[in-house]
Amino acid sequence: MSVVISPKIDLPPETPFLPGPPGTHITIRGLTKHFAGWPLYENFDLDIPKQQIVSVFGPNGCGKSTLINMIAGLIPIDAGQILFDGKSLAQTKIGYVFQNYRDAMFPWLRTIDNIAYPLKLEGKSKAEIKHRVDELVASFDVKFDLMRYPYELSGGQQQTASIMRALAPGPEVLFLDEPFSALDFEMTLFIREKLQQVFMQTGTTMVLVSHDLEEAVYLADQILLLTKRPTAVADILHYQDARPRTVETLSQAGFIAAKKQSMEIFQREVRKPARMQAPGTLALS
């Protein structure tokens, strides 16, 4: 009744869910996350495209890793909605590669059993597991002994194994949280190539957090640049050089332009004064 009498002072209309453009895989709407009462993400919207690699890049402390951890369900969100092709996280198969492979692998299992672990969780039969692991070994062209324990392998080998583990169940989305940070240059190059190769074979949607701009651009279809906190999307750059990209790509005009543009946006964001300050504190970053 009251609606009829005073239609003007109504509750604000609930914002309807706006689907992303065609080809969107992950839709994030109204994502809010506070840390210690202080907003990190406030009403954050984002569309992550399907079958593309998105690199996340931004200033220190803007919550790059937090973002993918929230999408992957590792950190609870305060408010908002995250959907994968319209499905919830529970209905979606995801893979996650941690920066610190040493604390991500299970040292009590042989490397091969580490890789097979997600398949065991799915209740796959021994034969199916073996088949899938063999497939992964072939596609990664593994040269080291998978019967060894993870701690007996080099860092690069461990990270390779942990990527194989993440890919084993055939995830719809693969999250990578600074997967190269703990590796030497040679291994970084190797694993970068492997990732690109897997991507070209499977078209798995990948979300990559990187603190190295070259790396971020090299693998990406889209470079997602974030602002300082409270974090918003500063810009999304498209980088469309053909794959496979190689070392030569790094010196090509398209790459250099994309990197330069990313750098400019990044620097613009870093130089901006913080948009808000915690009461009674100085902006520390």
Partner: protein
């Protein structure tokens, strides 16, 4: 892998080491050239030489300190079928009984408490309090409950050892690396699977530290109990008995064998630990 067991054992200094001074310090030894391998026996030899000199020079009366070779012979003879063997085995059996009770109760309860931090916090004070109470101070209490019996000695030793096992297992779970738990979670593991596949394994290292301290603690309490709770056998009983009649040679032999027992138990546990928790410290 199976090189002879010199006590060359590297143990990652784990966080919660149990109460008392019962754990002998673990030695960190690296691969050494052949001559260096003899280093560990330098100390014992020096001790025996000093001991022998002291006795020969008559600085300590022979009635208080027998010569080392006589003591060693008394120990070996005693352990090779003499009366010492009987007391020795009784103590071993009691210690192991107490230890097994402590382990069977302590590990599961500890792991369960550790996996529920609120539950652990609510009993933390009790555990810490009784863990800090010298178990020997509780002997009279246990006497009231169990009377002067064999069960009494095992019960009090089991109690002291149980708290150590409980505490270490719980801490092992509480301090499990969060990232491994997250890795399992992101792969879709249920809470129960995370518990079985990650938390239990993560806690093993600390659990073994607890078990090793617990077996030492059990031995200490069993021997004390044998000394003071009217016992007819056991190493503790033997030590007191021989002391009363000033049979120092037998007394030292019993003391040495108690030391050897404690040492061997510790080494056995380190070997088992290295087998099972093979990733420890890597």
């Amino acid at each position: 892998m199976n090189d002879t067991v010199a006590p060359s054992v590297t143990v990652a200094a784990s966080k919660p080491v149990a109460t008392a001074t019962t754990t002998p310090p673990t030695t960190v030894v690296r691969k050494r050239p052949a001559l260096g391998r003899l280093l560990p026996i330098v100390g014992p030899i020096a001790l025996f030489v000093v001991w022998d000199l002291v006795v020969r020079a008559g600085w300590i009366k022979a009635i208080l300190l027998p010569p080392p070779e006589a003591t060693l012979m008394a120990m070996l003879k005693g352990l090779a079928g003499g009366p010492l063997l009987m007391d020795f085995s009784v103590t071993v059996v009691r210690t192991l009984e107490a230890f097994v009770i402590a382990m069977v109760l302590g590990v599961p309860i500890g792991v369960l408490l550790g996996s529920n931090e609120r539950a652990y916090r609510s009993v933390e004070f009790l555990i810490d309090f009784f863990r800090s109470t010298p178990s020997s101070a509780l002997i009279p209490l246990f006497l009231l409950i169990f009377g002067v019996s064999d069960i009494n000695k095992v019960a009090i030793a089991a109690f002291g050892a149980f708290l150590i096992v409980l505490f270490n297992s719980a801490y092992g779970v509480l301090n499990a690396r969060k990232q491994r738990v997250m890795a399992a979670k992101v792969m879709g593991a249920s809470r129960w699977r995370i518990f079985c596949d990650v938390l239990l394994w993560e806690s093993l290292q600390a659990t073994f530290v607890g078990l090793r301290s617990a077996v030492s603690m059990a031995l200490v309490i069993v021997i004390v109990a044998e000394m003071f709770i009217g016992s007819e056998n056991g190493l503790g009983h033997r030590i007191i008995d021989t002391q009363q009649v000033l049979n120092v040679r037998e007394m030292y032999a019993a003391i040495l064998s108690a030391g050897a027992l404690g040492y061997v138990l510790n080494v056995v546990f380190i070997i088992i630990e290295k087998r099972i928790v093979h990733w420890s410290g890597r």
